[in-house]
Amino acid sequence: MRVAYPGTTSGMGDGLDAAREWLKTMVLIRRFEERAGQMYAKNKVGGFLHLAIGEEATIVGAVRAMRDEDYLISTYRSHGHALARGTDPKHVMAELFGKATGVSGGRGGSMHMFDAERRFMGGYGIVGGNLPLAAGIALSSDYRETEEVTVCVFGDGAANQGTFGETLNIAALWKLPVVFMVTNNQFGMGTALERHAAQPDLHKRGEGFGVPGLKCDGMDIGDTYEVLSEAIEKVRSERTPLLVEAVTYRFAGHSMADPEEYREKDDVKKWREQHDPIKNFAAKLDDVDLDALDEEAAKTIDAAVEFAEESDFPTPESIYEHVYVTGGQVRG
């Protein structure tokens, strides 16, 4: 039997503290994403903006199952992964604003967050582009004889890319410590799962490559945490990959440029009302004041927006910095 949560009663001490922290982090991500959307509408944020509203449990559940020394690699929907990993919301917001104080110095934008110190190895704009990198990071962990595990997050759309099959094969063949986590939000951009996947049970897709699959309820942080913990520790000890499918639903459009004509408004409403990962988890905990958490998150994000507003844009003179590592064979 699975223990669904670290603690649902006040008698569980640390467990409840952990559960509250999960809730707090999910709320932070939700409010961050909402505010990012508002800043996009105000033209403070350019380019594409992919929000993870509705997917918070997949993010926090997975990240909290990881150790500090483990590597996380994600997609273009990765603000939440950075925040959950502990990156200061100020620097994430500043990146959206294209400021020099952003996590990627204003060079990456929404799709390309990164935090080397916290082993968040990046958000990647190319669908499926991060899977081979995850295999390489895991190869490096074994090469250096560590216990590190890599968690590689990608969407249901990426499961149709060539890199999915290529990387699962190589990871299984070489016994690489990767947890491939497919965040199945049931749409590859605007194409529904059943219209893009011949085998919509995505966790079964690894079997042919020798990668066993697990499935979790990505709207339920307890279940996500349990299944990811099991997967990560199994991969850590056995040094061989697993595939985990987290079934979720994004409440917002694919990006800000999405009129959502491919799904019924009633479906979105139903998911929001019945499956909201934050509301449902809060209801299971004693003594939590969601309004207070909201208020706290709002303050943090106010400060992040203020920081982003007040930060400078990168200087024109800096435009070529970091194209090359200079000083060796390349002159500055």
């Binding site: 060079r107 080397a116 190319i126 899977l131 081979p132 910095e321 194209v323 060796g328 064979q329």
Partner: protein
């Protein structure tokens, strides 16, 4: 000095750098048990073991991506792709990831890796196995590009590439693997990127040869001297990124004429780029238009007589030079 074949020089470079730095390892298709499609990695599996010499499935894009991930986390991978043609399958990992990551993440991470691959026509391998695509890689900022044409350069540039903190696309030439040349006996033989070699000094015309065409250009220059009394200076840039434009421009200012020879396609080629750079920096010194000798503008044909006229040989270079004088 020892006389080595180009493939042996590359093999020495790999062996020495693997001995020197435990973070260096090689992955690629048939590089281990098979000893390498062109035998460049011969003996390395036996010497260094499967951890450091790793055969891969045929998955070019993912192989390069594995290298990128390993490079981002402290290792120094060398990825061998069987030929440049197959590297097109890895374009996403090479361009969108390997070359972009250091910039995209503001220098938080480096990608010190080498992607090696051979190119070139002449073996009747037809439209999918014969091309020279250095121009495509020259186009991409964020990585270094080497095109060695001699055994000594093959060794010295590969060692430099492995020690560099930037990603490097290292383009060998299939027809040069058996070529012999003098290679200094030096475990630290380094040929710095961005330093062209003047292969032959001359007064009347500057011929810039890319990859194998540096060799073909030298033969043409000898013929120009002996048969036509024309003194040609031959320059081998050796690396395209960074490019030693100074040496080329200085030569053109002396000779007042330039011919660029490459095996790749004409449009958007290395020569097109170089011609633009030369006229920007030496316009007033030019006594004639800059001439290009290139591969034919078509997918490479299989049939031997067609293939042979589809990439440059000495007579085309001689004709091009004579037309300028």
């Amino acid at each position: 000095m020892a006389e080595l074949r180009y493939r042996e020089a590359l093999n020495q470079a790999l062996r020495e750098e693997m001995e020197r730095d435990e973070r260096v390892f090689i992955i690629g298709e048939d590089i281990g048990v098979f000893q390498g499609a062109f035998k460049v990695t011969q003996g390395l599996l036996e010497e260094f073991g499967g951890k450091r010499v790793r055969d891969t499935p045929i998955s070019e894009n993912t192989i390069v991506g594995v290298g990128v991930g390993a490079a981002m986390t402290g290792l120094r991978p060398i990825v061998e792709l069987m030929t440049v043609n197959f590297s097109l399958l890895a374009m996403d990992q090479i361009v969108n990831h390997m070359a972009a990551i250091p910039y995209m993440f503001n220098g938080q991470v480096q990608v010190p890796m080498v992607v090696r691959m051979p190119q070139g026509a002449g073996h009747q391998l037809g439209p999918t196995h014969s091309h020279c695509l250095e121009a495509i890689y020259l186009h991409v900022p964020g990585m270094l590009v080497a095109v060695p044409s001699t055994p000594a350069d093959a060794k010295g540039l590969l060692k430099a590439a492995i020690r560099d903190d930037n990603p490097v696309v290292f383009i060998e030439h299939e027809s040069l693997y058996g070529a012999k040349g003098e290679v200094p006996d030096d475990d630290d033989l380094i040929v710095d990127f961005g330093q062209a070699a003047v292969r032959r000094e001359g007064e009347d015309v500057t011929i810039v040869g890319i990859s194998r065409m540096a060799v073909t250009a030298q033969k043409a220059a000898e013929e120009l001297a002996s048969e036509h009394d024309i003194s040609a200076e031959v320059i081998d840039p050796r690396t395209l990124r960074p490019l030693d434009l100074d040496t080329i421009v200085e030569s053109v200012r002396k000779t007042n004429r330039a011919v660029i020879v490459e095996e790749g396609w004409p449009h958007g080629g290395v020569g097109a780029n170089l011609a633009a750079l030369i006229q920007e920096h030496a316009f007033d010194y030019l006594d004639a238009p800059i001439k290009r000798v290139t591969g034919a503008d078509l997918p490479m044909p299989y049939s031997k007589p067609l293939e042979q006229i589809a990439f440059p040989h000495e007579p085309q270079i001689v004709e091009a030079v004579k037309a300028l004088l």
